[in-house]
Symmetry: C2
Subunit: 217 residues, 2 copies
Amino acid sequence: MAKRRVSNPLALAVLGLLTERPMHPYEMSNTLRERAKEESIKLNYGSLYSVVESLQRHQLIEVQETIREGRRPERTIYAITDAGRTEFVDWLSDLLAIPVKEYTQFEAALSLMPGLPPDEVLRLLQTRRTRLDTEIVATRAVLDDLARQKLPYLFVIEIDYLQEIRRAELAFVDRLVAGIRDGSLEDVDLWRRAHETGELPTEQDWKEAEVKLRSVD
Amino acid sequence: MAKRRVSNPLALAVLGLLTERPMHPYEMSNTLRERAKEESIKLNYGSLYSVVESLQRHQLIEVQETIREGRRPERTIYAITDAGRTEFVDWLSDLLAIPVKEYTQFEAALSLMPGLPPDEVLRLLQTRRTRLDTEIVATRAVLDDLARQKLPYLFVIEIDYLQEIRRAELAFVDRLVAGIRDGSLEDVDLWRRAHETGELPTEQDWKEAEVKLRSVD
DNA sequence: TAGCAAATACTCTGTGTCGGATATACGGAG
DNA sequence: CTCCGTATATCCGACACAGAGTATTTGCTA
């Protein structure tokens, strides 16, 4: 799993598109948009053009021709190279077979959560709960609709995946909310008191925690 | 939810630490490491020092003093400002209350998956399945161990969250694997044939898909 | 007690990425 | 004829990231 010289997933999408046929960047951008891949692969002009350039530098793609119609901006049409095809298969295989750690903002927030008082956190998480629920309902409607229209599931599999993940997050938030509200999360009292007395999580607590954490590393 | 001038979650962690007491960057880095926050917040020197500098530029933190012991490198000790405290609470509240779309590599991979033949994908996903399972088992051991040692759950809540998410991913992969293997995923035949005849997902298919996708936007 | 690893505390560099602003041309609707 | 939307980029500054480099001191081993 050595480092890839081009590592932006957008580059993988570009390789995928050029596997179908040569294109110029603007067309790639539209095609991705039309296929709703923008939902799962972050796309903006800044990145697209620099990713294309970088792919070219590494000879995974090459210029096929540059044409100009009338006095419009030139279009540079790129084609994939053999090395590019190999890289595509290789990279995609990697991504499918090997789970990699990704850092989400919510994870970060959870880990800093004790920095806010529990009742506040309760309120915030309830808001999140509602919003997640709304998203899930909306997505289900979309998926059902597409199924009814016989759009192959394969074309929207990533949406379904996301849906599952959101559901799991919702379940987690629900449990946490309940735990804070009814006190079944044991540490809530300590947590609340810490904030009332203005004492933060306490150095001492951390010292003790450290020892325990280290012991399982 | 206007844009934040400093948006790296590491900056949020820095604000969190300075809420406890003034520190120099190197100490922040160690403290985060000791508290196992590195698991949930990406940390490396390059980012840390530039994040600190950026926080300072925006007056969310300020230099408290600069000291040198012997001929060691100087330590610059930073303290949080009032603006910084506000930003911390505000930002953290946001992250807890509002789900934001994050792009994962696996999602991207799923959406490009039809670029590989189904039998290959099957093999790859089985590998993923195994690895996910291994991770889950290992994490459970760690969590159990910590619980037995009475480490407050609050200190490892983000690990528990991750665990839930992984479980959901595992369930999804399992279903997908089964679907491909026993053909209960209807599109598999089409998919397989497309690769055997060398014909890629087909322009025509995409045209039709587009219409459907657009209709639900 | 010499030797060497580990810890201390950064600093630097090159490269990647983001989002938006800007440029210019054309084709069609009112 | 004017304005707008679509076509096709380019550019910019700010941020982010990985990892190597540096120079000193401490602590442990043999």
